[in-house]
Protein backbone atom coordinates (compact mmCIF):
# COMPACT_ATOMS: atom_id res chain seq x y z
CA UNK A 1 0.00 0.00 0.00
CA UNK A 2 1.42 3.37 -0.92
CA UNK A 3 1.58 5.84 1.93
CA UNK A 4 -1.26 8.30 1.77
CA UNK A 5 -0.74 11.86 2.89
CA UNK A 6 -1.78 12.47 6.47
CA UNK A 7 -4.66 14.73 5.54
CA UNK A 8 -6.14 12.18 3.16
CA UNK A 9 -5.80 9.47 5.75
CA UNK A 10 -7.53 11.62 8.34
CA UNK A 11 -10.33 12.39 5.92
CA UNK A 12 -10.71 8.71 5.12
CA UNK A 13 -10.84 7.82 8.80
CA UNK A 14 -14.20 9.57 9.10
CA UNK A 15 -16.25 7.38 6.74
CA UNK A 16 -14.23 4.40 7.91
CA UNK A 17 -15.26 5.07 11.48
CA UNK A 18 -18.89 5.40 10.45
CA UNK A 19 -18.74 2.21 8.42
CA UNK A 20 -17.23 0.27 11.30
CA UNK A 21 -19.98 1.36 13.65
CA UNK A 22 -22.65 0.49 11.12
CA UNK A 23 -20.95 -2.86 10.63
CA UNK A 24 -21.22 -3.67 14.32
CA UNK A 25 -24.95 -3.04 14.44
CA UNK A 26 -25.56 -4.83 11.15
CA UNK A 27 -23.68 -7.87 12.38
CA UNK A 28 -25.74 -7.90 15.54
CA UNK A 29 -28.92 -7.70 13.50
CA UNK A 30 -28.10 -11.10 12.10
CA UNK A 31 -26.83 -12.78 15.24
CA UNK A 32 -29.41 -14.41 17.50
CA UNK A 33 -30.53 -12.34 20.45
CA UNK A 34 -29.48 -13.15 23.99
CA UNK A 35 -32.91 -12.61 25.46
CA UNK A 36 -34.38 -15.33 27.63
CA UNK A 37 -38.17 -15.25 27.47
CA UNK A 38 -38.49 -15.38 31.21
CA UNK A 39 -41.75 -16.87 32.34
CA UNK A 40 -41.53 -19.56 29.67
CA UNK A 41 -37.80 -20.16 29.60
CA UNK A 42 -35.65 -20.01 32.67
CA UNK A 43 -31.95 -19.76 33.12
CA UNK A 44 -30.23 -22.35 35.23
CA UNK A 45 -29.53 -20.75 38.58
CA UNK A 46 -26.29 -21.44 40.31
CA UNK A 47 -26.68 -23.59 43.45
CA UNK A 48 -25.01 -20.93 45.56
CA UNK A 49 -27.52 -18.29 44.60
CA UNK A 50 -29.09 -16.58 47.59
CA UNK A 51 -32.73 -16.79 46.70
CA UNK A 52 -34.66 -17.61 49.86
CA UNK A 53 -33.70 -18.74 53.34
CA UNK A 54 -35.05 -22.14 54.34
CA UNK A 55 -35.53 -23.50 57.82
CA UNK A 56 -35.04 -27.07 58.99
CA UNK A 57 -37.15 -26.81 62.08
CA UNK A 58 -35.89 -29.96 63.80
CA UNK A 59 -32.36 -28.59 63.91
CA UNK A 60 -33.27 -25.28 65.50
CA UNK A 61 -32.53 -24.93 69.19
CA UNK A 62 -33.83 -21.39 69.63
CA UNK A 63 -30.31 -20.19 70.37
CA UNK A 64 -31.10 -16.76 68.87
CA UNK A 65 -27.71 -16.47 67.19
CA UNK A 66 -29.21 -15.72 63.80
CA UNK A 67 -31.58 -13.11 65.17
CA UNK A 68 -28.73 -11.38 66.99
CA UNK A 69 -26.36 -11.40 64.06
CA UNK A 70 -28.93 -10.19 61.57
CA UNK A 71 -27.88 -6.68 60.54
CA UNK A 72 -31.47 -5.73 59.78
CA UNK A 73 -33.17 -7.30 62.77
CA UNK A 74 -35.57 -9.09 60.49
CA UNK A 75 -35.69 -12.51 62.21
CA UNK A 76 -38.24 -13.02 64.96
CA UNK A 77 -37.95 -16.10 67.14
CA UNK A 78 -39.96 -17.38 70.07
CA UNK A 79 -39.76 -20.75 71.76
CA UNK A 80 -40.63 -22.75 74.84
CA UNK A 81 -39.03 -25.56 76.77
CA UNK A 82 -40.38 -29.03 76.74
CA UNK A 83 -39.53 -32.46 78.17
CA UNK A 84 -38.58 -35.20 75.75
CA UNK A 85 -38.25 -38.90 76.54
CA UNK A 86 -34.63 -39.85 77.29
CA UNK A 87 -32.40 -40.92 74.45
CA UNK A 88 -31.18 -44.03 76.26
CA UNK A 89 -33.15 -46.39 78.46
CA UNK A 90 -33.24 -45.27 82.04
CA UNK A 91 -31.80 -41.83 81.38
CA UNK A 92 -33.16 -38.58 82.59
CA UNK A 93 -35.86 -36.95 80.50
CA UNK A 94 -34.24 -34.27 78.36
CA UNK A 95 -35.21 -30.65 78.29
CA UNK A 96 -35.33 -29.31 74.75
CA UNK A 97 -36.25 -25.94 73.33
CA UNK A 98 -39.19 -26.05 70.96
CA UNK A 99 -39.67 -23.45 68.30
CA UNK A 100 -42.96 -21.54 68.46
CA UNK A 101 -42.30 -18.81 66.02
CA UNK A 102 -39.62 -18.31 63.41
CA UNK A 103 -40.38 -15.46 61.04
CA UNK A 104 -38.12 -13.86 58.49
CA UNK A 105 -39.28 -10.58 57.08
CA UNK A 106 -38.07 -10.69 53.51
CA UNK A 107 -39.10 -7.12 52.97
CA UNK A 108 -36.30 -6.12 55.33
CA UNK A 109 -33.83 -8.90 54.57
CA UNK A 110 -30.67 -7.81 52.77
CA UNK A 111 -29.82 -11.34 51.64
CA UNK A 112 -26.41 -11.15 53.26
CA UNK A 113 -26.46 -14.74 54.49
CA UNK A 114 -25.00 -14.02 57.90
CA UNK A 115 -27.79 -15.97 59.65
CA UNK A 116 -27.13 -19.03 57.52
CA UNK A 117 -23.44 -18.77 58.26
CA UNK A 118 -23.68 -18.35 62.01
CA UNK A 119 -26.24 -21.08 62.60
CA UNK A 120 -24.35 -23.64 64.69
CA UNK A 121 -26.83 -26.46 64.12
CA UNK A 122 -27.31 -26.19 60.39
CA UNK A 123 -30.95 -25.28 60.58
CA UNK A 124 -30.83 -22.49 58.00
CA UNK A 125 -29.92 -22.91 54.35
CA UNK A 126 -30.03 -20.95 51.15
CA UNK A 127 -32.22 -22.03 48.29
CA UNK A 128 -31.95 -20.44 44.84
CA UNK A 129 -35.74 -20.18 44.51
CA UNK A 130 -36.65 -16.58 43.93
CA UNK A 131 -40.25 -16.49 42.76
CA UNK A 132 -42.04 -15.44 45.91
CA UNK A 133 -42.90 -11.86 45.24
CA UNK A 134 -46.15 -10.68 46.77
CA UNK A 135 -48.56 -7.88 45.96
CA UNK A 136 -48.60 -6.87 49.60
CA UNK A 137 -45.40 -6.19 51.49
CA UNK A 138 -46.82 -7.75 54.65
CA UNK A 139 -47.02 -11.10 52.91
CA UNK A 140 -43.26 -11.17 52.61
CA UNK A 141 -43.06 -12.16 56.26
CA UNK A 142 -42.49 -15.90 55.96
CA UNK A 143 -43.36 -17.99 58.99
CA UNK A 144 -41.65 -21.21 59.95
CA UNK A 145 -44.07 -23.31 57.91
CA UNK A 146 -43.39 -21.38 54.76
CA UNK A 147 -39.66 -21.37 55.44
CA UNK A 148 -39.81 -25.11 56.05
CA UNK A 149 -41.49 -25.72 52.70
CA UNK A 150 -38.57 -24.15 50.90
CA UNK A 151 -36.27 -26.73 52.50
CA UNK A 152 -37.01 -29.25 49.72
CA UNK A 153 -35.46 -26.93 47.14
CA UNK A 154 -32.05 -26.64 48.76
CA UNK A 155 -29.47 -27.91 46.26
CA UNK A 156 -26.32 -29.88 46.93
CA UNK A 157 -23.29 -27.71 47.57
CA UNK A 158 -21.27 -27.61 44.33
CA UNK A 159 -17.93 -29.35 43.98
CA UNK A 160 -14.96 -27.05 44.37
CA UNK A 161 -12.36 -25.92 41.86
CA UNK A 162 -9.01 -27.71 41.69
CA UNK A 163 -6.65 -26.70 44.46
CA UNK A 164 -9.33 -26.04 47.02
CA UNK A 165 -9.15 -27.62 50.42
CA UNK A 166 -11.68 -30.37 50.95
CA UNK A 167 -14.89 -28.93 52.35
CA UNK A 168 -15.40 -29.61 56.02
CA UNK A 169 -18.60 -31.48 55.29
CA UNK A 170 -20.89 -29.04 56.98
CA UNK A 171 -23.68 -27.96 54.73
CA UNK A 172 -26.46 -30.33 53.84
Amino acid sequence: MPELPRAVEDALAIPKGFAKGLGVTLKNLFTPAETVQYPREKEAITPRARGVITLKEDNCTVCMLCARQCPDWCIYIEGHKDKEPPRREGGKPRTVAKLDRFDIDFSLCMYCGICVEVCPFDALHWSPEFEYSEPSIADLLHDKLRLGQWEATVPEAPALEAGAEAPKGKKK
Partner: protein, 390 residues
Protein backbone atom coordinates in the same frame (compact mmCIF):
# COMPACT_ATOMS: atom_id res chain seq x y z
CA UNK B 1 -9.85 43.51 33.11
CA UNK B 2 -13.48 44.06 32.28
CA UNK B 3 -16.22 42.10 33.93
CA UNK B 4 -18.85 40.69 31.61
CA UNK B 5 -22.52 40.72 32.40
CA UNK B 6 -22.62 36.98 32.76
CA UNK B 7 -19.74 37.04 35.23
CA UNK B 8 -21.65 39.58 37.28
CA UNK B 9 -24.70 37.38 37.20
CA UNK B 10 -22.59 34.46 38.31
CA UNK B 11 -21.20 36.44 41.19
CA UNK B 12 -24.59 37.66 42.38
CA UNK B 13 -26.09 34.23 42.08
CA UNK B 14 -23.11 32.72 43.88
CA UNK B 15 -23.83 34.95 46.84
CA UNK B 16 -27.40 33.70 47.21
CA UNK B 17 -27.15 31.54 50.25
CA UNK B 18 -28.72 28.13 50.05
CA UNK B 19 -28.85 26.17 46.83
CA UNK B 20 -32.02 24.49 47.92
CA UNK B 21 -33.98 27.70 48.18
CA UNK B 22 -31.89 29.56 45.66
CA UNK B 23 -33.65 32.79 44.82
CA UNK B 24 -34.12 33.05 41.13
CA UNK B 25 -32.47 36.25 40.15
CA UNK B 26 -34.12 37.75 37.14
CA UNK B 27 -30.96 38.63 35.35
CA UNK B 28 -30.38 37.42 31.85
CA UNK B 29 -30.45 33.69 31.36
CA UNK B 30 -32.36 31.05 33.20
CA UNK B 31 -31.88 28.52 35.92
CA UNK B 32 -32.28 24.96 34.80
CA UNK B 33 -32.78 22.24 37.31
CA UNK B 34 -31.24 18.97 36.19
CA UNK B 35 -32.53 16.25 38.42
CA UNK B 36 -32.98 14.74 40.92
CA UNK B 37 -35.15 12.86 38.45
CA UNK B 38 -33.38 13.31 35.17
CA UNK B 39 -32.27 10.74 32.64
CA UNK B 40 -28.68 11.93 32.66
CA UNK B 41 -27.93 11.77 36.34
CA UNK B 42 -27.95 8.00 36.82
CA UNK B 43 -29.41 8.05 40.26
CA UNK B 44 -30.68 11.07 42.04
CA UNK B 45 -28.05 13.74 41.72
CA UNK B 46 -29.49 17.18 41.28
CA UNK B 47 -27.53 19.84 39.48
CA UNK B 48 -28.70 23.41 39.34
CA UNK B 49 -27.26 25.18 36.33
CA UNK B 50 -27.58 28.80 35.48
CA UNK B 51 -27.74 29.22 31.73
CA UNK B 52 -26.91 32.08 29.46
CA UNK B 53 -28.40 30.82 26.22
CA UNK B 54 -27.19 27.26 26.22
CA UNK B 55 -24.01 28.15 28.07
CA UNK B 56 -23.56 27.37 31.74
CA UNK B 57 -22.76 30.34 33.94
CA UNK B 58 -22.47 28.34 37.10
CA UNK B 59 -23.44 24.88 38.21
CA UNK B 60 -24.16 23.64 41.68
CA UNK B 61 -24.54 19.93 42.34
CA UNK B 62 -26.86 19.03 45.19
CA UNK B 63 -26.17 15.49 46.37
CA UNK B 64 -27.86 13.86 49.31
CA UNK B 65 -31.04 12.47 47.82
CA UNK B 66 -29.65 9.03 48.50
CA UNK B 67 -27.75 9.67 51.69
CA UNK B 68 -28.11 6.61 53.85
CA UNK B 69 -25.78 7.55 56.66
CA UNK B 70 -23.47 4.57 56.31
CA UNK B 71 -20.83 6.04 58.56
CA UNK B 72 -23.36 6.18 61.37
CA UNK B 73 -24.78 2.77 60.57
CA UNK B 74 -21.30 1.23 60.62
CA UNK B 75 -20.93 2.32 64.22
CA UNK B 76 -23.82 0.15 65.40
CA UNK B 77 -22.85 -2.94 63.43
CA UNK B 78 -20.07 -5.42 63.96
CA UNK B 79 -17.44 -6.13 61.36
CA UNK B 80 -19.28 -8.98 59.67
CA UNK B 81 -22.42 -6.90 59.39
CA UNK B 82 -20.60 -3.90 58.00
CA UNK B 83 -19.49 -5.78 54.89
CA UNK B 84 -23.05 -6.42 53.87
CA UNK B 85 -23.76 -2.73 54.27
CA UNK B 86 -20.84 -1.36 52.35
CA UNK B 87 -21.66 -3.66 49.44
CA UNK B 88 -24.25 -1.06 48.63
CA UNK B 89 -21.95 1.92 48.31
CA UNK B 90 -20.84 1.43 44.72
CA UNK B 91 -23.48 -1.06 43.77
CA UNK B 92 -22.08 -1.84 40.35
CA UNK B 93 -18.74 -3.06 41.61
CA UNK B 94 -19.80 -4.07 45.06
CA UNK B 95 -17.23 -6.74 45.82
CA UNK B 96 -14.56 -4.11 45.44
CA UNK B 97 -16.14 -2.16 48.31
CA UNK B 98 -15.70 -4.99 50.77
CA UNK B 99 -12.05 -5.62 50.18
CA UNK B 100 -10.49 -2.45 51.60
CA UNK B 101 -12.68 -2.60 54.68
CA UNK B 102 -11.76 -6.19 55.39
CA UNK B 103 -8.11 -5.39 54.75
CA UNK B 104 -8.33 -2.56 57.27
CA UNK B 105 -9.84 -4.87 59.87
CA UNK B 106 -7.17 -7.47 59.10
CA UNK B 107 -4.48 -4.86 59.48
CA UNK B 108 -5.78 -3.89 62.90
CA UNK B 109 -5.99 -7.52 63.96
CA UNK B 110 -2.63 -8.44 62.49
CA UNK B 111 -4.06 -11.23 60.37
CA UNK B 112 -3.20 -11.99 56.79
CA UNK B 113 -5.36 -14.15 54.57
CA UNK B 114 -3.72 -17.14 52.85
CA UNK B 115 -2.49 -16.69 49.27
CA UNK B 116 -5.33 -18.57 47.62
CA UNK B 117 -7.83 -16.27 49.29
CA UNK B 118 -5.86 -13.22 48.17
CA UNK B 119 -5.89 -14.50 44.60
CA UNK B 120 -9.61 -15.16 44.60
CA UNK B 121 -10.20 -11.76 46.18
CA UNK B 122 -8.20 -10.11 43.46
CA UNK B 123 -9.96 -12.06 40.72
CA UNK B 124 -13.38 -11.09 42.04
CA UNK B 125 -12.18 -7.53 42.58
CA UNK B 126 -11.20 -7.28 38.94
CA UNK B 127 -14.44 -8.91 37.82
CA UNK B 128 -16.30 -6.28 39.81
CA UNK B 129 -14.26 -3.66 38.00
CA UNK B 130 -15.16 -5.19 34.64
CA UNK B 131 -18.86 -5.34 35.52
CA UNK B 132 -18.77 -1.76 36.68
CA UNK B 133 -16.73 -0.14 33.95
CA UNK B 134 -18.44 -2.09 31.14
CA UNK B 135 -21.61 -0.32 32.07
CA UNK B 136 -19.83 3.00 31.87
CA UNK B 137 -18.53 2.20 28.41
CA UNK B 138 -22.06 1.60 27.22
CA UNK B 139 -23.72 4.31 29.23
CA UNK B 140 -21.45 6.99 27.86
CA UNK B 141 -22.97 6.19 24.47
CA UNK B 142 -26.48 6.68 25.79
CA UNK B 143 -25.60 10.01 27.28
CA UNK B 144 -24.27 11.07 23.89
CA UNK B 145 -27.35 9.78 22.11
CA UNK B 146 -26.15 6.40 20.85
CA UNK B 147 -28.67 3.97 22.26
CA UNK B 148 -27.13 0.71 21.16
CA UNK B 149 -23.88 0.45 23.18
CA UNK B 150 -25.59 0.26 26.55
CA UNK B 151 -27.46 -2.86 25.51
CA UNK B 152 -24.22 -4.54 24.57
CA UNK B 153 -22.87 -3.46 27.93
CA UNK B 154 -25.78 -4.98 29.80
CA UNK B 155 -25.56 -8.11 27.69
CA UNK B 156 -21.90 -8.81 28.28
CA UNK B 157 -21.88 -7.63 31.87
CA UNK B 158 -24.48 -10.28 32.56
CA UNK B 159 -21.91 -13.00 31.98
CA UNK B 160 -19.58 -11.39 34.49
CA UNK B 161 -22.40 -11.05 37.01
CA UNK B 162 -23.27 -14.70 36.50
CA UNK B 163 -19.70 -15.56 37.39
CA UNK B 164 -19.80 -13.44 40.51
CA UNK B 165 -23.08 -15.04 41.46
CA UNK B 166 -21.95 -18.60 40.94
CA UNK B 167 -18.89 -17.96 43.12
CA UNK B 168 -20.40 -15.82 45.84
CA UNK B 169 -24.14 -16.40 45.71
CA UNK B 170 -24.90 -12.74 45.25
CA UNK B 171 -25.12 -11.06 41.90
CA UNK B 172 -24.87 -7.52 43.08
CA UNK B 173 -24.10 -7.76 46.74
CA UNK B 174 -21.69 -10.63 47.21
CA UNK B 175 -20.85 -10.22 50.91
CA UNK B 176 -18.14 -12.76 50.27
CA UNK B 177 -15.09 -11.29 51.93
CA UNK B 178 -14.36 -12.28 55.49
CA UNK B 179 -11.75 -11.24 57.98
CA UNK B 180 -8.94 -13.72 57.40
CA UNK B 181 -10.03 -14.92 53.99
CA UNK B 182 -13.12 -15.47 51.94
CA UNK B 183 -16.33 -17.31 52.58
CA UNK B 184 -16.04 -20.14 50.13
CA UNK B 185 -13.81 -21.55 47.46
CA UNK B 186 -14.64 -21.32 43.77
CA UNK B 187 -17.06 -23.94 42.46
CA UNK B 188 -15.84 -26.49 39.97
CA UNK B 189 -15.70 -25.34 36.37
CA UNK B 190 -15.74 -21.70 37.34
CA UNK B 191 -12.37 -20.90 35.83
CA UNK B 192 -13.34 -22.26 32.42
CA UNK B 193 -16.59 -20.29 32.48
CA UNK B 194 -14.63 -17.24 33.44
CA UNK B 195 -12.36 -17.54 30.42
CA UNK B 196 -15.38 -17.62 28.13
CA UNK B 197 -16.87 -14.57 29.79
CA UNK B 198 -13.59 -12.68 29.56
CA UNK B 199 -13.51 -13.39 25.85
CA UNK B 200 -16.94 -11.83 25.55
CA UNK B 201 -15.84 -8.78 27.50
CA UNK B 202 -12.92 -8.31 25.16
CA UNK B 203 -15.26 -8.62 22.21
CA UNK B 204 -17.42 -5.98 23.82
CA UNK B 205 -14.44 -3.66 24.14
CA UNK B 206 -13.70 -4.08 20.44
CA UNK B 207 -17.31 -3.31 19.62
CA UNK B 208 -17.16 -0.16 21.69
CA UNK B 209 -14.00 0.84 19.89
CA UNK B 210 -15.78 0.45 16.56
CA UNK B 211 -19.09 1.92 17.61
CA UNK B 212 -17.94 4.90 19.62
CA UNK B 213 -14.23 5.59 19.78
CA UNK B 214 -13.77 5.44 16.02
CA UNK B 215 -16.84 7.53 15.32
CA UNK B 216 -15.98 11.10 14.46
CA UNK B 217 -19.18 12.40 16.05
CA UNK B 218 -18.20 10.78 19.33
CA UNK B 219 -14.74 12.30 19.08
CA UNK B 220 -16.12 15.74 18.35
CA UNK B 221 -18.45 15.49 21.30
CA UNK B 222 -15.75 14.39 23.72
CA UNK B 223 -12.38 15.75 22.63
CA UNK B 224 -11.50 18.93 24.43
CA UNK B 225 -14.68 18.77 26.51
CA UNK B 226 -14.29 18.97 30.26
CA UNK B 227 -10.53 19.20 30.44
CA UNK B 228 -9.21 18.66 33.95
CA UNK B 229 -5.65 19.92 34.33
CA UNK B 230 -3.33 17.89 36.47
CA UNK B 231 -2.99 20.30 39.39
CA UNK B 232 -6.74 20.91 39.59
CA UNK B 233 -7.32 17.17 39.65
CA UNK B 234 -4.93 16.88 42.60
CA UNK B 235 -6.56 19.72 44.52
CA UNK B 236 -9.98 18.20 44.16
CA UNK B 237 -8.73 14.73 44.98
CA UNK B 238 -9.83 13.32 41.64
CA UNK B 239 -8.71 9.73 41.49
CA UNK B 240 -8.91 6.60 39.42
CA UNK B 241 -9.31 6.68 35.69
CA UNK B 242 -10.30 10.34 35.84
CA UNK B 243 -6.90 11.19 37.30
CA UNK B 244 -5.06 8.90 34.92
CA UNK B 245 -6.81 10.57 32.01
CA UNK B 246 -5.31 13.83 33.26
CA UNK B 247 -1.83 12.41 32.99
CA UNK B 248 -1.42 11.42 36.63
CA UNK B 249 0.40 8.13 36.51
CA UNK B 250 -0.99 6.69 39.71
CA UNK B 251 -2.66 3.39 40.27
CA UNK B 252 -2.95 2.03 43.79
CA UNK B 253 -2.90 -1.53 42.51
CA UNK B 254 0.65 -0.94 41.39
CA UNK B 255 1.85 1.82 43.70
CA UNK B 256 0.63 0.60 47.05
CA UNK B 257 2.10 -2.39 48.87
CA UNK B 258 -0.95 -4.61 49.22
CA UNK B 259 -1.54 -8.19 50.25
CA UNK B 260 -3.73 -8.65 47.18
CA UNK B 261 -2.36 -10.47 44.19
CA UNK B 262 -1.94 -7.72 41.60
CA UNK B 263 1.81 -7.90 42.02
CA UNK B 264 1.76 -11.44 40.63
CA UNK B 265 0.30 -10.40 37.30
CA UNK B 266 1.91 -8.56 34.44
CA UNK B 267 -0.21 -5.60 33.43
CA UNK B 268 -0.01 -1.99 32.47
CA UNK B 269 -1.33 1.28 33.82
CA UNK B 270 -2.74 3.45 31.03
CA UNK B 271 -2.61 7.21 31.21
CA UNK B 272 -3.68 9.86 28.76
CA UNK B 273 -2.23 13.38 28.61
CA UNK B 274 -5.37 15.20 27.42
CA UNK B 275 -7.57 15.19 30.51
CA UNK B 276 -10.76 15.52 28.45
CA UNK B 277 -13.83 13.34 28.24
CA UNK B 278 -12.39 11.32 25.41
CA UNK B 279 -9.28 10.55 27.46
CA UNK B 280 -11.42 9.35 30.35
CA UNK B 281 -13.37 7.06 28.08
CA UNK B 282 -10.25 5.74 26.42
CA UNK B 283 -8.45 5.07 29.69
CA UNK B 284 -11.40 3.14 31.06
CA UNK B 285 -11.69 1.12 27.88
CA UNK B 286 -8.05 0.10 28.18
CA UNK B 287 -8.52 -0.66 31.86
CA UNK B 288 -11.24 -3.17 31.17
CA UNK B 289 -8.95 -4.90 28.73
CA UNK B 290 -6.13 -4.91 31.27
CA UNK B 291 -8.50 -6.24 33.92
CA UNK B 292 -9.35 -9.22 31.72
CA UNK B 293 -5.64 -9.88 31.37
CA UNK B 294 -5.10 -9.66 35.11
CA UNK B 295 -7.90 -12.11 35.81
CA UNK B 296 -6.58 -14.59 33.26
CA UNK B 297 -3.08 -14.50 34.64
CA UNK B 298 -4.28 -14.86 38.21
CA UNK B 299 -6.44 -17.82 37.27
CA UNK B 300 -3.42 -19.45 35.69
CA UNK B 301 -1.34 -18.90 38.79
CA UNK B 302 -4.04 -19.68 41.35
CA UNK B 303 -2.24 -21.43 44.23
CA UNK B 304 -3.73 -24.38 46.09
CA UNK B 305 -4.38 -24.22 49.78
CA UNK B 306 -6.74 -22.94 52.43
CA UNK B 307 -8.92 -19.89 51.99
CA UNK B 308 -9.32 -18.84 55.59
CA UNK B 309 -6.62 -17.93 58.09
CA UNK B 310 -7.12 -18.85 61.71
CA UNK B 311 -9.49 -16.28 63.14
CA UNK B 312 -11.05 -16.31 66.60
CA UNK B 313 -14.71 -17.26 66.54
CA UNK B 314 -15.75 -14.03 68.18
CA UNK B 315 -13.99 -11.26 66.34
CA UNK B 316 -12.56 -8.61 68.59
CA UNK B 317 -10.57 -5.96 66.79
CA UNK B 318 -7.91 -4.39 68.99
CA UNK B 319 -7.92 -0.67 69.53
CA UNK B 320 -6.20 1.33 66.84
CA UNK B 321 -6.64 3.17 63.61
CA UNK B 322 -6.05 1.89 60.13
CA UNK B 323 -6.34 3.45 56.71
CA UNK B 324 -6.58 1.08 53.78
CA UNK B 325 -7.37 2.21 50.29
CA UNK B 326 -7.59 0.35 47.01
CA UNK B 327 -8.01 1.23 43.38
CA UNK B 328 -11.71 0.64 42.97
CA UNK B 329 -13.53 0.80 39.65
CA UNK B 330 -14.40 4.43 40.28
CA UNK B 331 -11.13 5.50 41.82
CA UNK B 332 -9.44 5.54 45.18
CA UNK B 333 -11.70 4.06 47.80
CA UNK B 334 -10.52 3.95 51.37
CA UNK B 335 -11.73 3.14 54.83
CA UNK B 336 -10.36 4.92 57.85
CA UNK B 337 -11.34 2.46 60.55
CA UNK B 338 -11.06 3.46 64.19
CA UNK B 339 -11.52 0.65 66.67
CA UNK B 340 -11.84 1.14 70.40
CA UNK B 341 -11.23 -2.51 71.16
CA UNK B 342 -14.80 -3.28 72.16
CA UNK B 343 -16.36 -6.48 70.83
CA UNK B 344 -18.82 -4.68 68.59
CA UNK B 345 -18.09 -2.88 65.39
CA UNK B 346 -15.82 0.00 64.49
CA UNK B 347 -15.86 3.11 66.67
CA UNK B 348 -15.68 5.29 63.61
CA UNK B 349 -15.51 4.33 59.97
CA UNK B 350 -14.70 7.13 57.60
CA UNK B 351 -15.51 5.99 54.10
CA UNK B 352 -13.55 7.82 51.45
CA UNK B 353 -15.44 7.26 48.25
CA UNK B 354 -14.04 8.14 44.86
CA UNK B 355 -17.19 9.60 43.33
CA UNK B 356 -17.48 12.17 46.10
CA UNK B 357 -14.22 13.82 45.15
CA UNK B 358 -14.68 13.20 41.45
CA UNK B 359 -17.99 15.03 41.47
CA UNK B 360 -16.88 17.84 43.75
CA UNK B 361 -14.96 19.16 40.75
CA UNK B 362 -18.19 19.64 38.80
CA UNK B 363 -18.82 23.30 39.75
CA UNK B 364 -15.35 24.14 38.53
CA UNK B 365 -15.58 22.02 35.42
CA UNK B 366 -18.99 23.02 34.17
CA UNK B 367 -18.36 26.74 34.05
CA UNK B 368 -18.82 28.00 30.51
CA UNK B 369 -19.72 24.75 28.78
CA UNK B 370 -22.88 24.04 26.79
CA UNK B 371 -25.83 22.04 28.05
CA UNK B 372 -25.01 18.98 25.94
CA UNK B 373 -21.46 19.10 27.29
CA UNK B 374 -22.80 19.09 30.83
CA UNK B 375 -24.12 15.65 30.06
CA UNK B 376 -20.92 14.55 28.37
CA UNK B 377 -18.84 15.69 31.31
CA UNK B 378 -21.05 14.12 33.93
CA UNK B 379 -21.10 10.88 32.00
CA UNK B 380 -17.35 10.84 31.48
CA UNK B 381 -16.60 11.60 35.13
CA UNK B 382 -18.58 8.45 35.86
CA UNK B 383 -20.12 8.52 39.27
CA UNK B 384 -22.42 6.20 41.13
CA UNK B 385 -24.87 7.97 43.37
CA UNK B 386 -24.43 5.54 46.21
CA UNK B 387 -20.76 6.29 46.04
CA UNK B 388 -21.26 10.03 46.45
CA UNK B 389 -23.96 9.92 49.07
CA UNK B 390 -22.96 6.82 51.00
Amino acid sequence: MTVTESQKAAYIAGQAADARVRVEIEAEGMTLNLGPQHPATHGTLRIIVRLDGEQVVWADPVPGYMHRGYEKLCEVRDYAQVTTLINRIDWLGSFANEVPFILAAEELMGIEAPPRAQYIRTILFELARIANVCLFLGDMGVQLGAITPVFYAFRDREFVLNLIESATGGRFHPNFDRIGGIKDDLPKGWIDECRVALGRVRGFCDQMEDLLVGNVIFQQRTRGIGVIPRDIALEYGVSGANARASGIDWDLRRDQPSPLAWKHADWKVFTHPDGDSFARYWVRLQEVREATRIVEQLMDGLPAGPIRAKVPARIRVPAGEAWVHTENPLGEMGYYVVSDGSPGGPFRCKIRTPSFSNISIVPWLLRGVFVPDVITILASLYFILGDIDR
